[in-house]
């Protein structure tokens, strides 16, 4: 399936169990505690990372604090 992460189209293996949390693991995203996630233009609550499924066509933004990355 294909999703868009930070403006880049990304192909991922099909995995119906994939959540935002597991995707962060899968992509080995650094400095996880300082990242916010937007899913299809909406800010995703941090508590929802683990139970929000990632579906084909989703547009995700992983955003660090501006400047210096923190």
């Amino acid at each position: 399936m294909k999703i868009t992460i930070n403006g880049k189209e990304t192909a991922l293996a099909e995995n119906p169990a994939r959540t935002v949390e597991s995707l962060l693991d899968e992509l080995d995203v650094a400095q996880r505690q300082y990242i916010s996630v937007e899913l299809n233009g909406e800010i995703l609550e941090r508590d929802a990372f683990g139970n929000t499924p990632v579906q084909s066509g989703d547009i995700l933004e992983f955003l660090y604090f501006m400047g210096g990355g923190r």
Binding site: N6, A30, L63, M66, G67, G69
Partner: protein, 414 residues
């Protein structure tokens, strides 16, 4: 790997990343701004899509190395290095409070912080109530609907009173408020923010962390444990939603720290990463020298009184011993009965330097009533524990025998 190292090893290796050409000290990146090959790459960094440097006011690789180490030393969290200790306190407080809010603060604060709270913040509609930090019930009963934070020092300077920080943390948390602790005097060596239960720790890094009196700096460490999801903090809502535990650091970085601009200079951050490596060794000596001098002064015929939490008869001895692992810090105060004789002692010292600082490798003295506390009235001085005969001593790491001889000779002149 780094987080599993023990404290003294973290002082040396914490947050260190491989440097260019195998360099083992933190490189000084003396650059105001950082170039990107493409407009898209810089846009990504600005938007937060990619980690990167933009401008040294917002972040700098040398300063980030220092921030990583200091956060690890406090038991985890996120750190922001600032231009000075006062900048750290100002940025912290301005991130949390708004006009109409109240702060509960220790009445024995360092003079600079007292001035910020009493004079500067009052111009912005903020009320600060000063309470004896040993009066836990006083703190509890002063909390009202407008209170937004509690602020105390681990050891009052120069009063050397030692509040029970874990109990103050409990009082703050029961009311849904964060406890901000200035731990400059104790450093993470004597107690970490985690062990004290502080939510946010600030330090003037100019002091023991630097260790040689070579630069001014400060740091804010957000332990990422306070729950900002509260009606008391509606201005944290967006930050809480996005960053949860690190809502404070996100708000500070994205607004107050960025806008105030009191950033650390890269060269100063380098000096701090060098200096901090020997902090544990120095603190041991600062503490043992202070205890040795306190004992000598205590039985000296020309000394009227000595205040050092390490003395067994100090009212602070038990709590200080419990919170700081049987180590009592490098500061002591003593009096000779009057201002004139205090001046004679200071003028008679040869090794100890008469200046406005603490935490240097060199032994330092000052007469607070005529210098750092000169702007305060008699009542305020009394709250700060500043008497006309008080001499503050910041013990250095010299051979204790030389320090003692210096003070004995100076006292002979009285």
């Amino acid at each position: 790997m780094q987080t599993t190292l023990r404290f003294d090893s973290l002082l040396v290796h914490g947050g260190l990343e491989p440097g260019p050409a195998g360099a083992t000290s933190v490189p000084i990146v003396q650059s105001s701004s950082f170039a990107y090959e493409t407009a898209e790459a810089l846009e990504d960094v600005f938007r937060g899509r990619a980690v990167g440097q933009v401008y040294t006011r917002l972040g700098n690789p040398t300063t980030e190395a220092l921030e990583r180490r200091l956060a690890l030393l406090e038991g985890g969290g996120a750190a922001i290095a600032t231009a000075s200790g006062m900048a750290a306190i100002t940025t912290t407080v301005m991130t949390i409070i708004r006009a109409g809010d109240e702060i509960l603060a220790s009445s024995s604060l360092f003079g600079g912080t007292f001035s910020l709270f009493r004079d500067t913040l009052s111009n912005f509609g903020v009320t600060v109530r000063f309470i004896d930090p040993l009066d836990l019930e006083g703190f509890r009963s002063a909390i009202n609907e407008q209170t937004r934070l509690l602020f105390v020092e681990t050891v009052g300077n120069p009063k050397l009173d030692v509040p029970d920080i874990p109990l103050l943390a409990e009082i703050a948390h029961q009311a849904g408020l964060p406890l901000i602790v200035d731990a400059t005097v104790t450093t993470p060596c004597l107690a970490t923010g985690a062990s004290l239960g502080a939510d946010i720790v600030v330090h003037s890094t100019s002091k023991y962390i630097n260790g040689a009196g070579t630069s001014i700096g400060g740091v804010i460490i957000d332990r990422g444990v306070f729950d900002w999801n509260s009606q008391k903090f509606p201005h944290f809502e967006q930050f809480y939603k996005k960053y949860r535990a690190f809502a404070f650091t996100a708000r500070a970085r994205k607004l107050v720290h960025k806008d105030v601009g009191a950033c650390a200079a890269p060269f100063n951050s380098f000096l701090l990463t060098e200096g901090i490596q020997t902090l544990a060794l120095r603190m041991e000596r600062h503490c043992s020298n202070a205890l040795a001098l306190a004992r000598i002064l205590k039985r000296h015929p020309k000394v009227a009184w000595v205040n050092y939490p390490g003395l067994e008869d100090s009212p602070q001895h038990t709590i200080a011993g419990k919170l700081y692992g049987g180590r009592y810090g490098g500061l002591l105060t003593f009096g000779t009965g009057e201002k004139a004789s205090a001046f004679k002692v200071i003028n008679g010292l040869r090794l100890a330097k008469n200046l406005a600082n603490i935490g240097d490798a060199k032994t330092l003295v000052i007469h607070p009533a005529s210098t750092i506390c000169a702007d305060y009235n008699a009542e305020e001085k009394a709250l700060m524990g500043v008497t006309e005969d008080l001499i503050r001593v910041s013990l250095g790491i010299e051979d204790c025998r030389d320090i003692i001889e210096d003070f004995e000779k100076a006292l002979d002149s009285v």
